[in-house]
Point group: none
Chain length 192, copies 2
DNA sequence: GCTATATGAATGAACG
DNA sequence: CGTTCATTCATATAGC
């Protein structure tokens, strides 16, 4: 079974995939920020806390997306997946022994593969990187085959209590001083 | 995490009443925005909703401010990961355009950042190198043969028509490139 | 439904 | 400095 959403050649939506991804990320960010801000707000303003209206998850507010028409499958395709054709080409190139595709080569490959589906140079780059790393890790048993081969394979998994947002953790304030009025207008818009 | 704000515990904080009011308003606005955004997020990403246990405890490898000091807890991490505070500083320094930090500058930065978490000069050096390299590679991402990188000034890439979302576009697409990451950093910053 | 695995993507560190 | 490696995170798919 293939991915339901495939490469390009489809739209009718007013947002591109990239835009959707940006939207999703920002939403996630704001959601995280909010949690902290509500706490902060309540600690600063004990007289009129937000808790009363702050019941987003359990509903009871007003169902926003319930009746939305286009809410069926908003396509959460964020991760590129090579098509079978692309994979074949990639594999064959990988096996050619040109272990290290240069930047030019990457570009060539990307250009070639773009005829078989949506792809970017970054995708190609990542694919080769991952391919190589994976091969190395899976088959370190060339020389030290028997005996002690299987030491730690999958062990660090236990510590993975990540909050899920680590990879975005690099930056600072979007604008030095985000105007309150601006934010307030947004807030009011959201309320209605 | 606990809020020890409340009365009397002013640790030399210097905020005027006006500033406090501004802060409160911004918090309130963000809280409202968030409420909606959490809903939106859940509708867009049914696989990992924020609803239940939403633990934004992201880079919790070790406590930055030493609330839980000492002990051998911190020895499990091999790769340095900048804390949110460190990242903010690094980003701001990077954006200052100071270009190539000298050894001396590196040392200064490292010294400053060491107050916000474990860091070495090598970390700082690597960070700047990677940051620059990454930025450079980001440009040829566009497959369009537009050529000539569009200079990033203050131009907003508002994509005009976007259904019922046009009112959001100031916040949803603040900058074409590093919008999300900035925002996320705030989220992390607020955690501490 | 849940967890387990595969794999694309992010990023710190190292190499030349 | 540019490129590459190693580790980890994120998520889509599969198996229980």
């Amino acid at each position: 079974m293939e991915k339901e959403i495939q490469n390009g050649a489809y739209n009718g939506r007013v947002m591109t995939e990239e835009q959707m991804e940006i939207l999703r990320k920002q939403i996630a960010v704001y959601a995280v920020i909010c949690e902290q801000l509500v706490l902060l707000h309540n600690s600063l303003s004990p007289f009129h806390p937000f808790s009363s209206g702050m019941r987003p998850m359990v509903g009871g507010y007003f169902d926003p997306m319930g009746a939305s028409p286009s809410s069926s499958r908003i396509s959460t395709r964020h991760r590129w997946t090579p098509t079978s054709t692309q994979l074949q080409i990639l594999e064959s190139i990988y096996e050619e022994g040109s272990g290290t595709p240069n930047r030019r080569r990457i570009r060539e490959i990307a250009t070639e593969l773009s005829e078989h589906g949506q792809i970017t140079e970054t995708n190609v780059y990542n694919w080769f990187q991952n391919r190589r790393a994976r091969s190395k890790r899976k088959q370190p048993q060339t020389t030290t085959e028997n005996g002690q081969a299987d030491d730690v394979t999958e062990e660090r998994r236990s510590c993975g209590d990540s909050g899920g947002l680590e990879s975005y953790e690099h930056i600072l304030f979007p604008t030095p001083d985000l105007g309150i009025e601006h934010l307030l207008s947004i807030g009011k818009f959201l309320e209605s």
